[in-house]
């Protein structure tokens, strides 16, 4: 009877370990609070993060700064709720949140810059195109200057970094308007 209990306990240990490893290393994102398709977790980089958030950040956002220095928003879906994929072209359009400096970068499912021979992985405050009303316009999926190139990105994510964000970003996220991610079209669509 004791042996049976011990073996069952050990099976539980292995199952618990496997469950956590599968969760942390799955393609899912860290989760948290959102504004449209943009999601952030206020505990990123914080010593107060709960164990699960700490493990997820270690896997998907190692060496992130705490929120007083930078806030990271990630989008894995467009504004209509579809997964972001290299098979489609997108346009990001709208006002960026108030901050000292921002940049937007593409990452593949393994959280690395996709390898495609182009260095068009990011657009920043100083390189983004804007229209007459000051809205940022970022093409995603097109092979052109000022665009984010998606070849070999698979199902990708976009990370928006805000360095020294205005306090309103930390205190009243819902009051802000973030850029939309509009899907323009996909391979095979007519």
């Amino acid at each position: 009877m004791m042996l049976r209990h011990a073996l069952t306990f050990i099976a539980g240990l292995f199952s618990g370990t496997a469950m956590v490893v599968a969760l942390v290393f799955s393609p899912g994102e860290i989760g948290g609070v959102s504004n449209g398709p943009w999601i952030t977790n206020p505990q990123i980089g914080s010593s107060d993060a709960n164990p699960l958030t700490r493990a997820l950040v270690a896997r998907r956002g190692l060496l992130a700064l705490n929120r007083e220095e930078a806030v990271y928003f990630t989008a894995t879906r467009d504004s209509q709720g579809h997964n972001l994929t290299e098979r489609c072209a997108y346009e990001i359009i709208g006002q960026m949140p108030p901050t000292r400096w921002w940049s937007l970068t593409i990452y593949d499912e393994a959280s690395f810059l996709p390898r495609n021979g182009r260095n068009r992985h990011a657009v920043s405050q100083t390189t983004a195109r804007t229209d007459a009303s000051g809205r940022v316009i970022i093409p995603v999926g097109q092979d052109e200057v000022g665009a984010i190139f998606t070849e070999n990105a698979g199902l990708f994510s976009l990370t928006l970094r805000l360095y020294h964000p205005d306090p309103v970003v930390l205190e009243d996220l819902d009051s802000l308007t973030f850029p939309r991610i509009d899907r323009l079209g996909c391979e095979g669509e007519t």
């Binding site: 539980g12 992130a64 000292r100």
Partner: protein, 183 residues
């Protein structure tokens, strides 16, 4: 019925303990592997590695930004405190020095916004040393106390379309980490 239920009572504690222990140790394992990778890449000078601008071909850490210049040094405070010096960008772009413990926590950060001078010196000490000798600053501008003996210090500096990369490169050479003699 009772006999079928008893093994389940052993499985659940095992499951919970296994999950809790894994969650606790996983960040340390991931951090340790990252530090090993950084160490294997070598360093410029005494201990700082000034990484080239991030590309898809040379990236070593997840979610690095191609718009940031990174420099890094590892610390092991068992050998004594570490002095860190940093020169801030003259062009007004964002730069920071952030400290990470062995469990991935960003336990401290200082940026160009929080200083009034062109450069800053910091003394990184062990938390346990701070408890017994509160002031180990040794002439540095600030003292930072690390919760773990090992970890890393990361310098970030924004480079944008108007940044003079030669100047940015020269400025980040002012980021140095010097192991002090055991106190």
């Amino acid at each position: 019925m009772k006999q079928r239920g008893l093994p389940f009572l052993s499985f659940v504690p095992g499951l919970l303990i296994g999950a809790a222990v894994t969650l606790h140790v996983l960040p340390g394992i991931i951090m340790g592997r990252a530090m090993d990778r950084i160490e294997s890449l070598g360093g410029d000078g005494e201990s700082v590695r000034h990484a080239p601008r991030v590309t898809a071909e040379n990236q070593t850490i997840v979610r690095s930004s191609p718009d940031i210049l990174y420099s890094v040094c590892l610390f092991d405070l068992a050998d004594g405190p570490m002095r860190i010096d940093v020169t801030w960008p003259a062009d007004g772009n964002y730069a920071s020095v952030s400290f990470y413990d062995a469990n991935t926590n960003n336990f401290s950060a200082i940026s160009d916004r929080g200083v009034n001078t062109g450069s800053t010196s910091l003394m990184l000490t062990q938390w346990t040393e701070w408890l017994t000798i509160p002031n180990l600053r040794n002439g540095a501008d600030r003292q930072v106390n690390a919760p773990t003996k090992t970890g890393l210090v990361l310098y970030r500096r924004v480079i944008d379309a108007s940044t003079d990369l030669d100047i940015a490169e020269a400025e980040r050479q002012g980021f140095t980490c010097t192991q002090m003699a055991d106190q």
